[in-house]
């Protein structure tokens, strides 16, 4: 059964990783979650991994940190006695060597950095705008993968600590985002299974974005072949599909759902984020 307040995870977990395929509105959801958390009086940090500069504008006043894998890796190497090597090869060169020799190390240091921010105690909630496309599972699996291949050393320690963080629902949860159409819903169901079984991370409520929610229109009230009739039938077909997909998602993925309404033309700005956060506050 879904909890009474689906946004409760904002106060029970300290890190919310927002994950979903490209185009489903991960950044929108990151912004709305951050806004909703600020409203509850939480100290919020947004972490962005993609180099997208838009988040600051969407949630004015919130602290945003951009973490890039190469920069995090360089910092890690410098702090682990490799400053001489870094000097000898150009920084980018050594990063390339290390990243190639040890696949997943860049993901581990990014997660390590997020762990550090969590441990600083400066924030009640860190919302992570997760990596693009299908990279989320690989990203979160990097710690386990590293545990299997590396024995001993600083990276192994890092991998142990990150695995612990991911497995603890009071520290980290993943917010899956989808849209109410069949392929994205299928992908969300598959990703959920992979995250729970392979990564062992706790899933927060799943967000259904761009939902055309509402009762069916009395289409028969307009003349056959009229513009009003065609528009109503289009709208009804979409609302039916969206309701069916939410229902199917609920059946196959027993998680609470958070719904975000369809924004025409998806002109996303700070005001739209406010309105979406309002929709959740009154839900």
């Amino acid at each position: 059964m879904p909890p009474k307040d689906p946004l409760q995870f904002l106060t029970t977990a300290r890190i919310a990783v927002v994950a979903g395929k490209g185009g489903v509105g991960k950044t929108t959801v990151t912004a709305v979650l951050a806004r909703a958390a600020i409203r509850s009086g939480l100290r919020v940090l947004v972490v962005e991994l993609d180099g997208k500069p838009t988040l600051e504008a969407l949630v004015p006043g919130v602290e945003v940190q951009h973490i890039s894998a190469p920069a995090a890796l360089a910092e890690y190497l410098q702090s682990h006695g490799l400053s001489r090597v870094v000097k000898r090869l150009a920084t980018s060169g050594v990063i390339d060597v290390v990243a190639t020799a040890s696949p997943g190390i860049d993901d581990i240091v990014v997660l390590g950095k997020i762990k550090q921010l969590e441990r600083s105690g400066d924030y009640d909630l860190i919302v992570v705008d997760g990596p693009a496309a299908g990279h989320a599972v690989t990203f979160l699996l990097s710690a386990k993968g590293m545990l299997a291949t590396v024995r001993g050393g600083p990276i192994a320690t890092q991998a142990v600590e990150v695995t612990e963080m991911l497995a603890d629902p009071t520290r980290c949860q993943v917010v899956l985002v989808t849209v109410p159409e069949s392929t994205p819903v299928n992908e969300a169901i598959e990703t959920a299974a992979a995250l729970e079984e392979r990564v062992g991370v706790h899933l927060a409520p799943v967000v259904v974005n761009a939902l055309d929610d509402g009762p069916l229109l009395p289409a028969a009230g307009a003349a056959d072949g009229s513009a009003m009739r065609a528009a109503a039938e289009f709208r009804n077909a979409r609302r039916t599909l969206h309701a069916d997909e939410c229902e199917r998602l609920a059946q196959e993925l027993p998680l609470a759902q958070l719904h975000l309404p369809l924004v025409p033309g998806a002109v996303l700005d700070a005001a739209a984020v406010e309105r979406l956060a309002d929709a959740w506050a009154t839900a």
Binding site: A101, A133, G221, M228
Partner: protein, 366 residues
């Protein structure tokens, strides 16, 4: 529901006037895979022997084509209507398997093949090393282009910003061969490259301490095994780049009429322009259909009023969408000879040949 198709010269069917390769690019969630499949379907209808290749590991293409068992690394023929002279095939690229095949083709001996394929580092990176997937896509494209079963290859690129990296196949390859780790352990000799004694390299010893020495040992063993194969790889890559930049390859840009995806589409258009590649067609998917004008006065009944408001709302959405699309179509990076198509949103998903047929009709007419 009437699908009104807006046509602008030049004609989109010129897109299929004897190209060998058609590359579909665009960001995630814009219906790129569906467009690639619909273009493939149309080409098969007009008698081409088409193979649609998807690089996206998601099962979108299988879904769009209604293939129940999913797609694999080998092409499967799809049942389209009888009496159609063309053929429609599809496959989903598996970078690791493709890389294995390339190693087999280029290795000088079975022993070298075995040494590389069983290397733990190779197994880790074959499908995941940055650039490998793009390079394997280009490699596969080259192989399919030479396959006598097909006369048109339609490529559905991954929904990421670096999707066009495969256009840089040779430079991707040289990044790999000119890799600092590769250079560190290889020294040129009169007979080619020779592997240096690793223990004599303090840099490598230090790196080993940071990442784990066995991980590094695997990586070095891989580069050692790889020695001697670079010439074959480079020659192949040069052929691929010639194909991608040649007259027989055409580029199709897919977008949806939303502010964020239009910006992504402009980014792709600029990347193509930088490489002197022309966008031959722009497809704007998922447009709110044009239902026609509302009655001149709001109906008095509650039901009529509700329907009137709905029509007005959808028309307002369509107007916002047209403004977004105009920004893309007006971009300098898209030349005047690019054909444009607006494809109306279907109320449902596209996951069978029937729905695909509706998209095909919206693109190319009856």
């Amino acid at each position: 529901m009437g699908h009104r198709v807006t046509t602008r010269q030049p004609d989109i069917s010129a897109l299929l006037d004897a190209p060998d390769v058609l590359v579909c690019c665009g960001s995630g969630g814009v219906g790129k895979t569906t467009t690639a499949a619909a273009v493939g379907l149309h080409a098969a209808r007009i008698g081409r022997r088409v193979v649609v290749v998807t690089i996206d590991p998601a099962k979108r293409l299988a879904d769009a084509l209604g293939v129940p068992g999913g797609l694999g690394n080998d092409p499967v023929e799809l049942p389209i209507d009888e009496g159609c002279e063309g053929e429609l095939w599809a496959l989903m690229l598996d970078p690791a398997t493709t890389f294995d095949g390339l190693v087999r083709a280029n290795a000088s001996s079975a022993e070298q093949t075995e040494r590389i394929l069983s290397n733990r580092f190779y197994r880790n990176v074959a499908g995941s090393l940055s650039g490998t997937q793009e390079y394997m896509a280009a490699e596969r494209l080259h192989a399919l282009h030479g396959d006598p079963r097909f006369d048109l290859v339609v490529v559905d690129t991954p929904p990421t910003r670096n999707a066009l990296d495969f256009l840089d196949a040779p430079s991707t390859l040289s990044r790999f061969l000119d890799h600092p780790l590769f250079r560190l352990i290889m020294v040129p000799t009169r007979r080619g490259l020779r592997v240096l004694n690793v223990a004599s390299q303090p840099v490598l010893r230090t790196i080993g301490k940071a990442v784990g020495s066995d991980v590094l040992a695997d990586a070095i063993a891989f580069f050692q095994a790889f020695a001697g194969m670079e010439t074959g790889f480079r020659a192949r890559a040069d052929e691929v780049i010639a194909l991608l930049h040649g007259e027989s390859t055409r580029y199709l840009l897919v977008a949806s009429p939303r502010g964020d995806t239009i910006e992504e589409a402009r980014y792709f258009a600029r990347r193509l322009r930088e490489k002197d590649l022309a966008v031959r067609a722009v497809v704007v998917n998922r447009c709110t259909p044009d239902f026609g004008a509302p009655p001149s006065r709001r109906p008095k009944s509650a039901a009529g009023s509700e329907l009137y408001d709905n029509l007005r709302e959808l028309r307002a959405t369509a107007k916002i969408e047209r403004e977004h699309a105009a920004v893309l179509l007006g971009d300098d990076a898209i030349g005047p000879d690019a054909a444009t198509r607006f494809v109306p949103a279907l109320p449902g998903d596209v996951h069978d040949l029937e729905a695909l047929e509706a998209i095909r009709t919206a693109l190319f007419g009856e």
